[in-house]
């Protein structure tokens, strides 16, 4: 299934929530644990630009389709941050740019693959490394879709659920891009398969690990991926990844849950 980049860019929009009655949150506020997860998701969405940077230091930045996608993707994710910030604001949790800046300064942005390492590695390995990025991105976007849908189910708050489904729908388009790119690139190169397998197995971590504290990562993982239903979602993400050329048998999401002692 080809991904139509022109169609994607033409239809890329900021997620809409103005038509949703957010004042409902004042009457029916969300529980503490949910707000904590939302805050995590909100921060991660705002920090997408940091992922963008990690992607750009490799040869990916030269491909016109990839740069077109990244321009739109980065903006859509920013708007997810804005939408979630608006929900949090109804609960008097204010997320402002200065505070985000403080998070980035305090914790430092240490994605598993930092730019220097990536740049060195990416440039040595060359275009095969784009495949790694694409499959990495796909794993993250699959996680995002699962997380938003799962939170919508768990909370069953009509306004929140509608917003989260809208966000998940956009994330699904990101999945389509990354997965298509990853599949094509992996299928073409045995070397890329070996590299992707190695990178995912050894370096992948749940979205946000590295920039958020371990306590927060653990809370969100437990909240959204814990228990039998959560684990089922995690297994689905792993199954998607394992269907990629050369990646069969990988269970990176479930491994990450096990490593953090998240109850099944």
């Amino acid at each position: 299934m080809a991904f139509d980049i022109d169609k994607y860019t033409e239809t890329s929009q900021k997620v809409a929530w103005q038509d949703l009655d957010f004042s409902d949150f004042r009457e029916h506020p969300l529980p503490e644990g949910t707000l904590r997860s939302l805050r995590y998701m909100c921060d991660i969405e705002y920090h997408t630009v940091c992922y963008l940077r990690d992607m750009l230091v490799t040869p990916s930045h030269k491909d016109e389709d990839v740069t077109a996608f990244m321009t739109m993707w980065n903006r859509e994710e920013f708007w997810h941050g804005e939408a979630l910030a608006a929900v949090l604001a109804e609960h008097d949790v204010i997320v402002d740019f200065d505070e985000l800046k403080a998070t980035r300064l305090k914790l430092g942005w240490k994605d598993r693959l930092d730019p220097v390492k990536q740049s060195l590695l990416g440039n040595i390995v060359g275009s095969g490394f784009i495949a790694v990025h694409m499959v990495w991105g796909a794993a993250n976007e699959w996680s995002a879709v699962a997380a938003y849908n799962r939170l919508a189910d768990l909370e069953a708050h009509p306004v929140l659920a509608e917003l989260l489904r809208r966000i998940a729908k956009q994330e699904a388009r990101h999945v389509a891009f990354y997965a298509t790119q990853a599949r094509e690139r992996l299928a073409k190169s045995k070397k890329a398969q070996v590299l992707a397998r190695f990178a995912l197995k050894n370096f992948w971590g749940p979205v946000g690990s590295g920039v958020m504290t371990d306590a927060e990562v653990k809370h969100v993982m437990g909240h959204l991926m814990g228990g039998p239903d959560g684990r089922r979602e995690a297994a689905k993400i792993d199954a998607h990844i394992a269907r990629m050329p050369g990646l069969d048998g990988l269970t990176i999401v479930q491994d990450a849950l096990d490593a953090r002692g998240i109850a099944a």
Binding site: C50, F78, E82, L120
Partner: protein
């Protein structure tokens, strides 16, 4: 009445730039407002199309720019990254608008990025090293680098603004003029963010000023030009940025951005672009000269001997164009239309 009031309010208290409002009201695709039939009926001058193809590449180079900017502490400033996110989005659609028009004229823009082999290799090495070098260097410098980045966008926007105004004057096709006016409104907002922010950061920090003074002359202007064919950058300057205009922009840089009073960025970039200078061109010239001697021994004998360096230089210069142009046939056509364009329109308006 109300108009006057608005004016005075604007003059008295410029509101601080609202990044969230900017993001909310970002301007996307221009496709629906471009009347391609008007171009079919009255096509643009070939030189204008060539410039638009070049400008398309400049607008589309945001990801390469961000690549070098985001590895520095600039990425930690959420307000700046929020701006850059929307800025890249709007520039993408400006590039798209130019592309639509270029394609409608059947212009083959593929050659713009085809660089002579030597330069391509140099660029490749530089591109691979830049984020690494930038990361180490800028992270040791710290937040002062943000001032440099905002100053570079500011200066680039000034160059672009001047170029757009000039292009609209040279080829006042109503559809083009309309589009360029829209593009300028979009870009005016970019300037409203980057300009005061750059001024503030440079004013506040001596280190930021000194960094900007050292780093800005190393940038190829306009931003994005470093990965495009030199012939196209030369055409851009030759057609749109006269020496007087370059000086004017430089004066604006010096009088607006603190600490840059010694810089002549645009004049220097213009001179370099037009001189076809640079190390790789010198190499190409020598290679070209050698090749011409090999291929045309008789011509070489005729021109050679004590005729001296002047004759050799002429051959060299011609050859350089030849060497560069071999990479793309489009280019040769382009070069011809360059002169036509300059001759036709060059002297006309201001």
């Amino acid at each position: 009445m109300s108009g006057e009031q608005t004016m005075s309010v604007e003059e008295e208290a410029p509101l601080p730039f609202d990044v969230r409002d900017f993001a909310r009201t970002a301007v996307g695709s221009h496709r629906d407002s471009i009347d391609l039939a008007a171009f079919a009926e009255h096509p643009l001058d070939p030189g204008t199309v060539r410039i638009l193809a070049y400008m398309r590449e400049l607008e589309r180079s945001t990801m390469t720019y961000l690549r070098n900017v985001l590895v520095t502490p600039t990425h930690k400033d959420a307000r700046v990254t929020a701006f850059l996110t929307t800025w890249a989005f709007e520039k993408y659609w400006i590039a798209d608008a130019f592309e639509v028009i270029v394609q409608a004229h059947g212009y083959d823009a593929a050659g713009i990025q085809d660089l002579p082999r030597l330069r391509a290799l140099g660029l490749e090495i530089a591109e691979r090293a830049t984020p690494i070098v930038e990361s180490f260097r800028a992270n040791s410098i710290g937040a002062d680098v943000i001032g440099l980045h905002l100053a570079s966008v500011t200066i680039d926007e000034w160059i672009t603004e001047a170029a757009h105004l000039r292009l609209a004057a040279l080829d006042p096709h109503p559809e083009l003029v309309k589009l360029l006016a829209t593009v300028q409104t979009v870009k005016a907002r970019h300037r409203r963010f980057v300009e005061p922010d750059a001024v503030r950061r440079l004013t506040d920090s001596k280190r930021a000023r000194s960094l900007a003074r050292r780093a800005l002359p190393r940038t190829s202007w306009p931003i994005g030009a470093s990965s495009l064919r030199r012939s196209e950058t030369a055409f851009f300057y030759r057609t749109l940025v006269s020496e007087a205009l370059a000086t004017e922009i430089d004066e604006h840089v010096r009088s607006t951005l603190p600490g840059l009073s010694t810089l002549t960025l645009v004049s220097t970039a213009r001179r370099r672009a037009l001189a076809r200078g640079g190390a790789s061109n010198e190499v190409a010239r020598r290679l070209g000269r050698a090749a011409s001697l090999l291929r045309h021994p008789r011509a070489a004998t005729a021109a050679g001997g004590s005729t001296g360096s002047a004759a050799a230089d002429t051959t060299g210069a011609t050859q350089t164009t030849g060497t560069t142009d071999t990479t793309g046939a489009t280019q040769t056509t382009g070069t011809t239309s360059t002169d036509t364009h300059t001759e036709q329109k060059g002297g006309a308006p201001g």
